[in-house]
């Protein structure tokens, strides 16, 4: 059983939305023991079983509600019920909730959000997010390697980091 699950998601044809997918794609090529990586277009219901089966989960996603280039790490509380739109597309809170209810899993979960600027149709990210990619990979690597990293033990659910 893997210790850590990384889910990087986003549409690689929508500019900065590709960031999460690219982070995961880079990580899965490393093939690290104890680490399972999913690079996906979107979060889907069946991922909740995978989420339930690990100790720690890191979601990576580009976001419109964060200033471009800024990285925001949130610890996700699995006890908080989420108003997730649960059709073929979910959000991290919905996955965590269903991981708990259906499969009895309560991993510690973080959402690494990176502020994106442009989400229109494009095969390229903006320069700012291109530059952020390396920083995000380094951060996620630290989070994987160190289960005692402060972000895993945040009491409030948001911890901001430096700008990318």
């Amino acid at each position: 059983m893997a210790d850590v699950l990384i889910i990087g998601y986003g549409n690689i044809l929508r500019g900065d939305d590709a960031l999460g997918w690219l982070v995961a794609d880079s990580l899965r090529k490393q093939d690290r023991p104890g680490v399972e990586v999913i690079a996906s277009h979107q979060l889907t219901p069946e991922m909740s079983e995978l989420v339930a089966g690990v100790n720690r989960v890191i979601f990576v996603d580009a976001r419109e509600d964060i200033p471009p280039g800024q990285i925001l790490v949130e610890r996700l509380d699995p006890k908080v019920s989420s108003d997730a739109s649960f059709s073929h597309q979910c959000d991290p809170w919905g996955l965590l909730q269903n991981a708990r209810v259906l499969f009895g899993g309560t991993p510690t979960a973080l959402l690494v959000g990176v502020g994106g600027e442009a989400f229109e149709l494009s095969e390229r990210m903006t320069q700012q997010l291109d530059q952020a990619l390396t920083k995000v990979l380094k951060l996620v690597d630290e989070l994987i390697s160190d289960a005692n990293h402060p972000h895993w033990h945040q009491n409030g659910h948001k911890g901001e980091t430096d700008n990318a």
Partner: protein, 473 residues
């Protein structure tokens, strides 16, 4: 005339609104289903090399990208003037079956089961997948497992669950590995059992929905789809067949490239979704339905043993021609069962591991048509290219679009029966949504938000004053 507007009805896969037009007595006189989003794929692919089309067209949808891959690749095969290797056709079909399973599982378990298991009038805050998970956790797990199986088949074959690129013009881009075949075969029994159990559950509760079955898009219509040469169910290949409301085959064996002899397309100023119709009967009399309900009407049989047993029971119970759109749910599960059985049959074929899986050619024809049966109905991709093989024109008849006239007719029927113009209720709103959801359009993802779909309904008097207003979400 008073107008009740439900807007927005949808998000993501499509945006729509519904307008109910009331007469002076407060009765519904007309109802319209307006699709308010333009995708534009037919236009922005112009100038692209034809061999890019499957990959581009898969982006039309996140739920059924494989259907677009199949139809698009078949159109490209026609442009290349090639007959693809038999193994390649079988492999494409297996991928397509994986999608049928996951899409039908999604439709039933995530989108429709809240209405069916919790009730049409149940608390909207709980009438969603969260409510199903709370009330029926084992069923919810089985729904996730069944969809996961379909998605895993796609991933094991094509390396991506969403927008896979394994299907290419001329075939597929690599053969099937024996370990992948064995992996899929090992998961089939569990998937089959889940589907049989779910069918059993649905059959046991159908009597609770007699009123809905009577009024949810229950009307005579034409039915259209493709069948194999023997008139049996085939999602991958075949010719077009049209059946009338009495069960008579009025057109059969129409080759895909002759689709325009059979299908015309009208447009209305109040919707971006085209209105396909049966051309010989004109518009709008040529209304027809596609998808699971239509397919199980037009075919002689499914062609796999368990599904055929269910097929027979289904028609014995509801008639040789099943008319009510409510029974899309039942037909959908039979198709899921057939898909699992058919997948097993194909995987056990002696040539399924053949390395000969692709034909290679440039564009040798100016025009190509590909037709497949998507989860939601007949899907047509029609391309024209210039001498260099660049797309100069494309026409897509999307599965959901084929049902547009029928969905409009269904909304009229359900709203006339359930809507009290003087007193709007939430249960009425849900039934208007639910009849659309029965068709499982790509819009249905966005008509079933958790908790409550944001909706505002106003009842406006002839002098413009708001007589009644209800909000949700």
């Amino acid at each position: 005339m008073k107008t009740i507007t439900i807007h927005p009805v949808t998000r993501i896969e499509g945006h729509a609104k519904i307008t109910l037009h009331m007469n002076k007595d407060g009765q519904v006189q007309d109802a319209r289903f307006h699709v308010t989003q333009v995708r534009g794929f037919e236009k922005f692919c112009e100038g692209r090399p034809f061999y890019e089309m499957p990959s581009l067209m898969a982006r039309i949808c996140g739920i059924c990208p494989v259907s677009h891959l199949v139809a698009s690749a078949k159109a490209c095969d026609a442009l290349m003037s090639v007959r693809i290797p038999k193994t390649a056709a079988k492999l494409r079909y297996i991928l397509h079956l994986g999608q049928m399973i996951q899409s039908h599982a999604l439709s039933f378990f995530h989108l429709s089961s809240p209405d069916l298991l919790l009730g049409m009038d149940s608390d909207p805050a709980l009438r969603n997948i969260v409510g199903v998970i709370q009330a029926h956790p084992e069923l919810a797990k089985e729904g996730i497992a069944l969809r996961k199986f379909g998605q895993q088949v796609i991933e094991w074959l094509a390396m991506e669950r969403i927008h896979p690129q394994w299907i290419v013009p001329g075939g597929v881009n690599r053969p099937l590995a024996s370990e992948d075949r064995d992996r899929i075969l090992s998961e089939i029994p569990a998937a089959r059992d889940i589907t049989l159990r779910t069918l059993g559950l649905l059959k046991s509760i159908l009597d609770q929905f007699e009123d809905e079955a009577e009024h949810f898009g229950n009307f005579p219509s034409l039915y259209l789809g493709i069948t194999d040469a023997g008139g049996d169910l085939d999602f991958y290949d075949g010719n077009l067949r049209v059946m009338d409301a009495d069960g008579s085959i009025i057109q059969d064996g129409v080759a895909p490239d002759k689709y325009s002899d059979v299908i015309g397309e009208a447009v209305e100023p109040w919707s971006y979704l085209k209105m396909p119709y049966y051309k010989p009967m004109g518009y709008p009399e040529g209304l027809y339905r596609v998808g699971p309900l239509a397919r199980l009407n037009i075919v002689n049989k499914c062609g796999t043993p368990l599904a055929d047993k269910e097929f027979q029971e289904y028609h014995e119970r509801f008639g040789a021609v099943v008319e009510s759109s409510f029974f899309f749910h039942y037909a959908r599960l039979i198709e899921a069962l057939h898909s699992i059985e058919k997948m097993e049959m194909l995987l056990n074929e002696p040539d399924i591991l053949s390395k000969n899986v692709r034909a290679h050619a440039s564009a040798n024809a100016e025009e190509g048509v590909g037709v497949a049966e998507a989860p939601r109905g007949t899907l047509i991709h029609h391309y024209k290219v210039d001498e260099s093989g660049a797309i100069v024109w494309a026409n897509l008849i999307i599965a959901t679009g084929n049902n547009n006239l029928a969905m409009n007719h269904s909304i009229q029927q359900v709203s006339k029966h359930y809507v009290d113009g003087k007193n709007l209720t939430e249960g009425m709103l849900n039934r208007v949504e639910a009849v659309i959801r029965a068709y499982d359009p790509c819009l249905s993802c966005s008509t079933h938000a958790i908790g409550q779909m944001p909706m505002r309904i106003q009842l406006i008097d002839t002098d413009g004053s708001v007589v009644d207003e209800k909000y949700r979400g």
